[in-house]
Amino acid sequence: MVYDCTEKTDAELVALALEDQEAFLCIINKFQGPLLRYIKRISGVSHDDAQDVLQEVFIKIYTHLHDYKPALPFSSWVYRITRNTTISYFRKKKPLIHMEQEDMERLVHTIGEHIVIKNDVIDPVLKKMDKKYREILVLKFLEEKSYEEISDIIQKPIGTVGTWVNRAKKQFLAAYKALYGEK
């Protein structure tokens, strides 16, 4: 059966997928782009590796469909599963810090404020940052998630998210300035 997914809400898509596996394709198609990008951003892995993780993520989403509660935005729930799966998938590997050029530009443009940031030197800056702050930067400035959404994704109180975002910005700027000066 072919479904018209465009008119359906996330909750309706979940209900449909629980009745018919084919309808799960709607969820996959809707989220695979953003989730693939997110996996790459937080793990720094290659496109192929990220796709392997993404497959695992969708299988996990499918098996946990009954765990979804409509009180939570579906997108946050899906991001949470993606984050947890990615972390456990790469737990044994060394954390990667490579970031796409385009992401670096966006990141430095959003956080950079008054300083001119050299794009080609972002990796050493990110290398100096705590993993949790780097992840917060990705969610806040690249995925453009609200504090509430980040709270639901990383499962921390909103207050903590606010604090971490500020610290992450400060840590990023301090690390950048320490390495390359004010200009």
């Binding site: 996959i28 946990h64 469909l65 009954h66 709270s151």
Partner: protein
């Protein structure tokens, strides 16, 4: 890119079908959630009871004569302070925290808020429960059913098993006339207790547990100077 997307979607669906992957039943998630909420509830109730015993033990110590009883304040406090129940409360607050964190909405609360609120509620309810007699009841239950705690309790009781130093405690097994009672002490010895010179007489009855201060006489006689119930009176409930 669109083609790649379709490929991935189909690959996922094929895996689901080949491996016969099914969504986990709703009851599994409900059970998991109930388990953690059950953990929160049980830990809170146990913490209330532990706090009630903690307060009961603090209230039932002889702070007015502690230094004499324990041969100094520090040995006295080390012997009577309810460390066991304090550790129980700490452990239970930790269990409340862990269980709450595992519930689906537990991540929304700050650690400091969970701990602070738990401690305030446990202290409030526990103190109330003590005044309703819950502390003593729980302590008696623990003495009977927890061998480790029974030993700790005995250590505390031994403070009043020093007749040669003027401290005697036990149960009244008989009352002879107006001024003498027969007491079985903590070592199961029988004493004739002379009550003629006690400063504040109290009404005694058989089976009552008392603490007596006085002087040892000959042949298992004990001349009381003061006598008090072993446990202070509860406000609301009687034994």
């Amino acid at each position: 890119m669109e083609k790649n997307n379709d490929k991935l979607g189909q690959k996922v669906l094929d895996t689901i079908q080949q491996k016969q992957v099914k969504p986990l039943p709703k009851v599994w998630f409900l059970g998991k959630e109930s388990f953690w909420w059950g953990g929160v509830t049980v830990s809170i109730l146990a913490a209330f009871a532990s706090m009630a015993v903690f307060v009961f033990i603090l209230f039932s110590q002889d702070w007015d004569i502690g230094s004499e009883l324990g041969r100094g304040w520090i040995p006295f406090i080390l012997r009577v302070f309810p460390f066991f129940w304090m550790l129980m409360i700490i452990l239970l607050v930790y269990l409340i925290y862990i269980s709450l964190r595992h519930t689906s909405s537990g991540y929304k609360y700050k650690t400091s808020m969970i701990i602070l609120l738990s401690v305030i509620i446990i202290a409030g309810v526990g103190i109330g429960l003590h005044f309703l007699g819950g502390g003593q009841k729980t302590e008696e239950f623990a003495q009977r059913h927890m061998p480790v705690y029974g030993a700790i309790h005995q250590q505390r009781m031994q403070l009043w098993h020093q007749p040669e130093r003027g401290f005697l405690a036990g149960s009244i097994v008989a009352i002879e006339g107006k001024h003498v009672c027969i007491l079985e002490d903590l070592g199961k010895n029988i004493w004739h207790v002379q009550l003629k010179d006690v400063d504040k007489p109290i009404i005694l009855h058989i089976g009552m547990q008392v603490k007596v201060r006085g002087i040892v006489g000959n042949e298992q006689w004990f001349f009381a100077e003061s006598i008090r119930p072993f446990f202070p009176k509860r406000i609301m409930l009687n034994r």
